[in-house]
């Protein structure tokens, strides 16, 4: 474990987008310059994130940074990168670049503000995925919300305020519960040891009585379950996804939802392992209900964005399912699936943005027979659809099969119950494809095939889908040693948990 690397690479992951945001605000006169600044800084983050790709050491960490910060509180600026956060950082960096490219033409008002907020969001996201200090984590968690809300309200569709209100209500509600849990932990730990600290590694050693641990765990769990979201906490999601500008929907589904799952694993499970292990029985059932309910509801949708919103929820439920069946294989599958899901949903919403750019609308009845109009666009759409329904050889299959194999290993009945989800996914995805690509176009549909910028957006997605589908080892190898997993397994096994 290298406590301090020579270059503060991880801090740079947060600093570059912040700097970019600042520069965007400075150059607000020229919207063209802002776009390029945003693309450059997000591109720089992507390059930096890619360069961090390496295999972890025994402890699971790839990189760590630790600086003094607020001494009076015992809060430190601690960042750490392990296999899971590496995948999340990569995904965030990639999808932000894509979001910038997707909004290249569609955003014409207040361009500087838009792109600086986008970059501020990236900084917040990076902080969430890297922070190992709960104070820092909480700050980043909230910082991430503010740009998201402003982006939806200002650039979203008309009438987005009620949707945003719901979004804020649920998210803040969840966050406050988490804050309570953090404070209680901080306080209890301080009382027990005399050292007041927000460090994850210190706080997870706090001795907690069973019921207290459960309450603290629930605080975390609710905050994260809202963000993911799990049914029935998903009420905020369909409207928010539909009203937000599509580039933001791309991020909401591709990255922001992952912060919930990431938090669940990194903080809730680590801090309250015993309560977590106890919760697995019903958490896996809630996750399965989410998978089936959301997929079934997706089948009944007539708007592409809404259908994809439910599809995203269904797939996210599957990832939570993988985390909660107490099996190592399934857990690694879930980590990979977090990345895969981001790729697929990112590509799907990028394609949706292209629909919106052309006809200003995403209702399915406005579309049809696009294969004849725009074969290239349709080709990408078909591949992404196939990836989403879990065709082997493309990205989603690998994660799904790992989750299913692991789940079946520990809980055969539950694993078997989860399998029909592949049928439901096929049902709503094929219905979508049928309405968009096949048949005849409705009268008056004007459609041009993808341009150079759009190909530049779609090709990386395609490459990654095939890459993860055929050579997933690149992304699975960093997950073989995940920081905190041995601790979690140890803590659970020690207390008579259920991990095999």
């Amino acid at each position: 474990m290298n406590e301090l690397t020579f270059y503060p690479l991880l801090s740079l992951l947060i600093a570059i987008p912040l700097g970019g945001a600042f520069l965007c605000v400075l150059s607000r006169r020229s919207s063209g310059l802002c776009r390029w600044l945003a693309l450059l800084s997000s591109g720089a983050v992507l390059v930096l994130a890619g360069s961090l790709f390496r295999l972890p050491d025994q402890t699971g960490w790839l990189l760590r940074e630790d600086y003094a910060w607020i001494d009076t509180l015992g809060a430190r600026f601690t960042l750490g990168l392990d296999g899971v956060s590496l995948l999340m950082v990569l995904l965030t960096a990639l999808l932000i670049v894509m979001a910038v490219l997707v909004s290249w033409r569609t955003i014409s008002e207040k361009t500087a503000l838009y792109f600086s907020l986008l970059l501020a969001l990236e900084a917040g996201l990076m902080g969430v995925f890297l922070a190992l200090d709960l104070f820092l984590f909480y700050i980043c968690w909230e910082i991430m919300l503010i740009p998201a809300v402003i982006l939806i309200v200002v650039w979203g569709e008309e009438g987005s305020l009620p949707a945003v209100f719901k979004f804020i209500f649920f998210t803040i509600g969840g966050s406050l519960l988490m804050l309570l849990s953090i404070i209680s932990l901080y306080y209890l730990h301080g009382e027990q040891t005399g050292v007041f600290s927000f460090s994850l590694e210190a706080l997870r050693l706090t001795k907690l009585s069973g019921s207290l641990e459960l309450w603290i765990y629930l605080g975390f769990l609710l905050a994260f379950a809202v963000k993911i979201p799990l049914v029935p906490l998903h009420i905020w999601l369909p409207d928010t996804y539909c009203k937000a500008p599509t580039a933001i929907t791309l991020l909401l589904s591709g990255v922001l939802a992952k912060t919930g799952i990431y938090g669940l694993y990194r903080f809730a499970f680590q801090l309250c392992p015993e309560a977590a292990a106890k919760s697995f029985a019903w958490l896996s059932i809630v996750a399965l209900v989410t998978v089936f309910y959301a997929a079934w509801t997706a089948f009944g949708q007539s708007d592409i964005k809404r259908l994809l919103a439910y599809s995203s929820v269904s797939h996210l439920g599957f990832i939570v399912f993988g985390l909660s069946v107490s099996n190592r294989t399934a857990m690694e599958g879930s980590f990979l699936q977090m990345f895969s899901h981001g790729i697929t949903m990112g590509a799907f919403f990028a394609l949706t943005a292209m629909i919106e750019e052309r006809i200003g609308d995403t209702r399915m009845e406005r579309l049809g027979g696009l294969w004849g109009r725009a074969p290239l666009w349709s080709f990408f759409f078909l591949v992404v659809a196939l990836s989403s329904l879990g065709l082997p050889g493309l990205n989603n299959f690998v994660g799904e099969i790992l989750i299913l194999a692991g789940a079946f290993q520990s809980l055969p009945w539950l694993g078997a119950v989860a399998v029909p989800s592949i049928l439901l996914a096929a049902l709503y995805i094929l219905r979508l494809v049928r309405h968009v690509l096949w048949g005849v176009s409705p009268a008056g549909l004007i459609w041009t095939d993808v341009g150079r910028r759009e190909i530049f957006i779609l090709v990386p997605f395609l490459i990654l889908m095939v890459w993860v589908g055929c050579w997933p080892q690149t992304f699975l190898d960093p997950l073989q040693q995940v920081a905190g997993l041995p601790f979690f397994e140890g803590a659970v096994a020690l207390k008579g948990g259920v991990l095999p």
């Binding site: 082997p392 399998v419 094929l430 690509l437 005849v440 997950l479």
Partner: protein, 621 residues
Amino acid sequence: MRPEFISLIPLLPLGGALINILFGGRLSRRVSTGLAVVSVALAAFMVVAFWSYAAGGGTRVELYTWIEASGLRVPLVLLFDSLSASMALMVTGVSTLIHIYCLGYMSREKDYVRFFVLLNLFVFAMLVIVLAGDLLVLFLGWEGVGFCSYALIGFWYREGRNADAGQKAFVMTRAADVFLLIAMLWLFRIFGTFSIPDIMARTELIPAAAATPLVLLLLAGACGKSAQFPFMSWLPDAMAGPTPVSALIHAATMVTAGVYLLCRLFPLVMLSAQGMAAIALVGILTAGYAALCALAQDEIKRVLAYSTMSQVGYMFVALGAGTLSGAMFHLYTHAFFKSLLFLGAGCIVLLGGENNIFRMDRAARRNPLVFGTFLVGSLALAGAPLTSGFFSKDGILTTVFSRGSGLYELVWVLGSLTAFVTALYTFRLLYLVFGGKEKTRGEIPTLSFSMAVVLPFLAVAALFGGVINLPAIFGGNETLRHFLEGPDVIQGFVAHREEIILTALAVAVFAIGWLAAYGLFRRESALRDNMASRFFRSGFYIDQLLETLFQRPFRTLARFWDRATERQLFDGFFSGLGNMTFGGAKIVRRMQTGRLSTYLGSFAWGLLFLASFFLCCALGG
């Protein structure tokens, strides 16, 4: 040659597809289509070139580690043994002929690049199923052929009906895949690996109680792809695709994948007597059902589709009776005569201008090549003595008879009855297509060379294909059986005299079927429209049943979730919360400046305030 090059067999068609995906639009038509044909033909050549590697236990080739996580490793491994090599030879051989046929058949199609890409991709995926040495790799091909089938059935996508048929095929086979996947996960739980040879070598590890459910799950999975009861109703609709596609995918190769799967896992299947009885039962029920349905169809391709379903049913019967080589023998002969029939049907429809056998022009009978080859295919299907279909079907029925027990006796009776119905519907088709009056329709199109040239090859195979497994009473030595099951298989299920009687009986069944058809269908309009024929034509109203039982409730509930639970319950709950706070909101109305910045500002301050409040509490404590 290094054994690793066996991987070229599936990779060649894949390469052809990839080149056409990337550059197909820029290449000339001749180069692009030629590439598709040559890549498949080369794959066929490779199978022959590597034939010696199949001897003994076969050759295992590991290419690379596909997926590795803790507790699970899936190598991309190919298994080239007698079963997979012979199947690969059939697949590549028939595919090559059909690809050549397509050059002519699709010569007017503008979208030929997409067609040949999908066709090549299909051959790749099918070869992956055949050569897979690992269940997950097999599943890769399994789903791959499912997608190609979907895309090719709906190839003419502008017609909504075609796209719907493709979708139906995908969804129904996926429903069956759920069972297959559960079986695979279960095997993984028992063995800790997906490797087929490893699992087959240690089948004794399977708990006795698990064997039957496992076989039943595998059977359900196989039934999806092979269009057996209860997953069969997608196959007749799949005829919406171009005819060569029906010949390749929905007759010769993909629909037999289920049979192949059960053959691949045969040591496991044999663990459960109940499971095998279920396989035989499903097979014979589907065979009989489909034969009856074929009797009343009025489209030439639908007759052939039901007949495919019926013949695949015979293959299941063979597996249920315990003869792997019997199933594979019928699989090969069926591939020859059925693809011949489909390709012939393509020509007949082209010449007759119509798919409907009552309305089509009988122009095809003036084309001796089409007439002759179609006749050969039909005879083989009907089980005319000494054709390939005769030997393979008779072999299956003889084996079933030799099993003796009550259930198998019933299966044998039903199987013989079905053989009679098969002869009946085959000759009905022949009489209706080639008999009757010829309507003059002006100019009759000519067949292109590439379409005509493949028919004789398949006709020879359909006629003389029996020699690959000629039984002893005809002077053969069951070559295929020895090749597939090894040299020391148990000889002779039945006594010599019984075998002769059974063979004579099969000849008699064929003859009676022919005579009955001659009496019934010589004249048009026989069995045209009454309640029974409507019942048979609609496939026993299975589609309507599925619609009422599954599709409609599913759609209704989907709408219910969306309208009732999502919008009423959840949103209603939320707006109820909103109304409750509305009273309070009146008081703070003055704070509503309507400016977003104010809201967001106070929002941020509030957060900060809350955070510091809790911090103070904590510090104070």
